[in-house]
């Protein structure tokens, strides 16, 4: 049995993802030099501004041309470039275990694969990736490292998780938001079937911390359309509640409600400048990631 990243992505998929990069739309704070703009001024080729010379400054940084014009000492400052730290928040609540068909993966399985793909892209860009797994609580917080070895270990750990019973997505998100001090990129992979206002508040919390947030709203196609042919007694996967219903007669109202639910998230995310994407579990992972990242790259130019 495959372990680590090989358990989620095959070589062909990885080949497709090789040249992609996940760019932050905002400045981030990293520990290593990288391809992302840093909040710090440092050593790079991109000029930032001048400042008055202070004793102790490196003489090499004095702008002699300015001294010639003004007889004053000014030091040239350059935009610092750092690496990106990406935190993947993976929801393993009870509802994530849903799969409408044996041919389709459950939402949790799909989310894991999506996390692996995103991690692979991030590491390939020499950025650091970390992972937080949560259900009814924060189950695991895996370190944010720029290492395939660490990633493999993280994914091995992830393989051991199954969807939990309940969910506490908003609380966990607040907790994680508080724990990440430097500006980073937060990728949330979840079905967001929680208290919607609380989730939106949690997202706002991330934004307040100046993180670049991406929400990958993962849903099963049947969840969207209620495309079931026969009546059944439905059981809530999180609280065990049951309901007898005929999906054919409810489809119209269900679709309207689901549309409203998704629309609210979309609207709130747009207001908070959060990148929101709806992901259906019947879409191929590599295709989605590739399309998404290319579109993101195009829009960030």
């Amino acid at each position: 049995m495959n372990e680590g990243i090989a358990a989620f992505l095959n070589p062909a998929q990885m080949a497709k993802l090789n040249r992609l990069a996940l760019n932050s739309r905002y400045v981030v704070e990293g520990t290593l030099a990288g391809r992302h703009r840093s909040a710090q001024k440092g050593a790079s080729t991109e000029f930032a501004d001048h400042r008055a010379y202070m004793p102790g400054d490196d003489l090499k940084r004095i702008d002699w041309k300015v001294l010639g014009r003004t007889d004053k000492y000014f030091v040239r400052r350059y935009q610092d470039e750092t690496n990106l730290r990406v935190y993947l928040l993976l929801d393993r609540s009870g509802s994530m275990g849903y799969s409408s068909s044996p041919d389709l993966p459950s939402k949790f399985k799909y989310a894991c694969t999506l996390a692996a793909a995103m991690s692979y892209v991030v590491l390939k860009s020499r950025d650091a990736v970390g992972m937080c797994i949560y259900g009814e609580k924060l189950d695991a917080s895996l370190p944010c490292k720029n290492s395939f070895k660490v990633l493999n270990n993280s994914l091995k750990i992830l393989q051991g998780y199954k969807p939990s019973k309940g969910t506490a997505g908003a609380d966990v998100m607040h907790q994680i938001a508080e724990s990440i001090n430097r500006r980073a990129m937060i990728v949330i992979i979840s079905d967001l079937l929680d208290d919607q206002p609380e989730i939106i508040k949690a997202l706002a919390h991330f934004r307040k911390k100046l993180h670049d947030v991406i929400v990958l709203h993962t849903l099963d196609p049947v969840e969207l359309n209620l495309d079931l042919k026969r009546g059944a007694e439905f059981e809530d996967m999180e609280n065990g509640e049951r309901l007898i219903a005929d999906p054919r007669s409810l489809a119209k109202e269900y679709k309207d409600l689901m549309g409203e639910f998704i629309g609210n998230y979309r609207k709130s995310c747009a207001e908070m400048k959060i990148d929101y994407r709806l992901v259906k579990t019947d879409e191929p992972i590599d295709t989605f990631v590739r399309a998404y990242l290319e579109e993101r790259k195009r829009l960030s130019r």
């Binding site: 196609p221 309901l243 007898i244 007669s249 489809a251």
Partner: protein
């Protein structure tokens, strides 16, 4: 009252619970299906609950009703039309069948003649009776004709009698036939259910008696005037089958007027034909054949349901009796497409001159210029007893008085039967001799000599007054004033009834007076036929006046060119010169029945066959045509009666109107056994099944349409 023919199938009504049971059963079999969250399902259920409940209840109702209807249909519910319907169907009944026998029943429809349809329907009604039910049959003609007079239980015999019936040529009166049939039913013992069936073609004419009675009811409010009383109408069940065409089309020659009535050889005859038409206006070709040879063909376009006239001019008819046949194109009612009449053409009008040679020589010379003219005969008064006056159109009495009493009676009878008696006075008789002759226009008063100085008198024709019965239309030559010289004149007393002075000599002296006597005429001159009293026989007007008088009288006494069936005319009125030993044959060859009413007057008893009647005289070589009989054409006006009118006119409490035998049998069945609702239930079930199928599919389609997939584009946006 609702009863069920198959009550055991009422158990099938429990099937109505199947939809509900299925619904409940289906709920129990639901499979537990994990679902991420129920919050949207709950909210959707809350939103759609009223709609879904409504749809479910409607579907449940439709399915339950569908099964109920099927259950009812198998149980065969029957509504009794009367409160005691359950035992009515088993009770004994007396039935009278009235068949309209008018000739319009021969109208040809797609399924055959109406008459045959009606006979079939009558047979079917009888076949539907139970053993022991009694039935009688009447034909509705001008007078009701009993076929089976007393109600009988021999149904097969009655059907056989109905099958043998033929349609009659005349019209019919249904009210009298129904009243007769009702009376026959009422004479039966026991209180049985009474039913009357009238089989007719649905024309309004036979119902006229009912309509008139209804009007009398309205105006006089006296029910005794009606043939059928209110109690009778309420007690009997009346079934009418109107089997004729709803928009009939028919054209027919309605009447023919021949002028002049007396035709002489070489004269032009005019046939004025009235052509009737029922239905929308159309062009009709009318043809005339004389003795089988076509003599004319004209097209006319009468208005819808109207009559129009067309005239034919016939020339070159030889002396003798000619058969004229007027035809219209063949149509659905062929019985009235032909009209027959006889044209009698004479060489000369036969006249008898009675009197001595001296008094009659001018008249005989005027009327019979040839020495051997057979048309005019002169005899003495004494020979009058040996002469049959019926051989002559006119009898001239020239100085013939006094006459024997028997001779006077014969002359009066002759005048009453249509002959013309023309009297010229003379010197041989006293004034009193004329008193016995009661048919004269006036009683002679005296004979007066005219002085020579006032003897010249201009002749003047007295114009006919409007109410005058005796007409004299000969016009005197224009620009001349005919004058005679009077030597002696007979003074007349007061004019008798129906008498008038026709010509005067001068202002105050009547020359000619005339009187209508029965069907004939009597004329009296105030001068004799010789030149002793006046110069009148010597004038140029003597002959025309004599001819005019003969023709006038002859016109009154001539037999009509055609007669109408259904009448009982005296033989002398329709057949000329009839003798007791003559044999009159009907068109079919049988001998015509005559009835002696006494006084040597015969009446045709039953004139029922249209066509040409012939007479075989004793010793004659071949029979000659003597009479043309045609059906009364009032029945040809085909105006359908509406069921609503029938209801209004007949006022039967239990009136059932059918348009064909099938409908009649259905009505009878419903009346006797009640009305079955099984068929209606099945139709309703079919309708409900269709509605259920349509509605269920509509709901399903709507649901499919509502669950159109939410499509997510590459940007992650939901596209609906």
């Amino acid at each position: 009252m609702l009863v069920f023919a198959n009550p055991v199938f009422l158990w099938a009504l429990t099937a109505a619970a199947i939809p509900l049971m299925l619904h409940m059963f289906q709920r129990r079999r639901t499979v537990v299906t994990p679902f991420p969250t129920l919050r949207f399902l709950k909210a959707a259920q809350k939103r759609s609950s009223s709609r879904v409940r409504f749809e479910n209840i409607l579907l449940w109702l439709l399915r339950t009703l569908l099964l109920l209807m099927l259950g009812f249909a198998f149980a065969m519910p029957v509504i009794r039309t009367t409160a005691a319907g359950s035992w009515l169907s088993r009770t004994r009944r007396d039935v009278a069948i009235v068949l309209d026998a008018s000739y319009s029943m021969n109208y040809e429809l797609d399924r055959g003649k109406v008459w045959e349809t009606c006979k079939d329907a009558a047979a079917a009604v009888i076949e539907g009776l139970l053993p022991g039910d009694r039935v009688c049959v009447y034909l509705a003609a001008e007078t009701p004709i009993p076929v089976i007079e007393k109600p009988t239980t021999e149904h097969a015999t009655v059907i056989q009698a109905i099958r043998a019936l033929t349609c009659l040529p005349g019209s019919s009166k249904l009210d009298e036939a129904v009243a007769t049939a009702l009376a026959a039913l009422e004479q039966q013992e026991g209180r049985r259910e009474r039913e009357i069936y009238v089989m007719t073609d649905g024309q309004s004419l036979p119902w006229q008696g009912f309509r008139d009675a209804a009007k009398q009811d309205e105006t006089v409010n006296n029910e005794d005037l009606a043939v059928i009383t209110r109690e009778q109408r309420d007690a009997v069940s009346f079934f009418a089958m109107l089997a004729g065409a709803k928009t009939p089309e028919n054209s027919w020659p309605a009447d023919v007027k021949v002028s002049p009535l007396i035709m002489l050889s070489g004269q032009t005859a005019r046939l004025n034909v009235r052509v009737g038409h029922s239905g929308a206006a159309k062009q009709i070709t009318v043809g005339v054949e004389i003795d089988g040879q076509e003599r004319g063909r004209r097209s006319v376009t009468p208005e819808a349901d109207s009559e129009t006239g067309v005239e034919f001019v016939i020339n070159g008819l030889e002396p003798g009796i000619h058969i004229a046949r007027i035809t219209t194109p063949p149509d659905a009612l062929p019985e009235d497409d032909e009209f027959l009449c006889l044209l009698r053409v004479r060489k000369q009008l036969p006249a008898l001159i009675v009197g001595p040679q001296s008094a009659t020589r001018y008249l005989k010379a005027a009327l019979a210029p040839g020495a051997a003219d057979e048309g005019v005969r002169q005899i003495d008064a004494a020979e009058l007893d040996s002469v049959d006056l019926r051989d002559y159109q006119a009898v001239f009495l020239c100085d013939a008085f006094p006459l024997a009493g028997q001779a006077v009676i014969r002359l009066e009878e002759y005048a009453h039967n249509g002959g013309v008696v023309i009297v010229f006075p003379g010197d041989r008789a006293e004034i009193a001799a004329y008193e016995d002759m009661g048919v004269l226009p006036a009683q002679p008063q005296s004979v007066e000599n005219i002085p020579v100085e006032v003897s010249a008198r201009p002749l003047r024709r007295i114009p006919n007054s409007p109410e005058q019965i005796v007409n004299f239309n000969m016009s005197l030559p224009p620009g001349t004033v005919p004058t005679i010289a009077l030597k002696r004149v007979m003074r007349l007393g007061e004019m008798r009834e129906s008498a008038a002075i026709l010509i005067t000599a001068g202002d105050d002296t009547p020359l000619l007076a005339g009187r209508a006597v029965g069907r004939g005429r009597a004329f009296m001159f105030t001068v004799n036929a010789d030149r002793d009293w006046s110069t009148f026989p010597l004038t140029a007007f003597f002959l025309p006046v004599a001819h005019q008088l003969i023709r006038q009288g002859a016109g009154a006494s001539i037999q009509p060119p055609h007669v109408v069936l259904g009448t009982q005319p005296p033989v002398n009125e329709v057949i000329p010169e009839h003798r007791a030993d003559d044999i009159i044959s009907t068109p079919s060859g049988s001998q015509l029945a005559l009835r002696d009413t006494g006084n040597r007057t015969y009446i045709i008893e039953n004139l029922s066959e249209p066509g040409i009647y012939t007479r075989a005289k004793a010793g004659a070589d071949a029979p000659e045509p003597v009479m043309a009989a045609n059906t009364d054409r009032t029945e040809s006006h085909l105006i359908p009666v509406a069921p609503a009118e029938l209801e209004e006119w007949t006022s039967f409490k239990k009136l059932f109107v059918a348009n064909d035998p099938e409908e009649l049998i259905k009505l009878v069945d419903e009346y006797r056994n009640g009305r079955s609702l099984a068929e209606i239930c099945l139709w309703l079930a079919l309708l409900l099944a269709l509605i259920e199928w349509w509605y269920a599919n509509r709901i399903l389609r709507k649901q499919t349409g509502a669950s159109e997939k939410l499509v997510v584009d590459l940007a992650g946006k939901v596209v609906t």
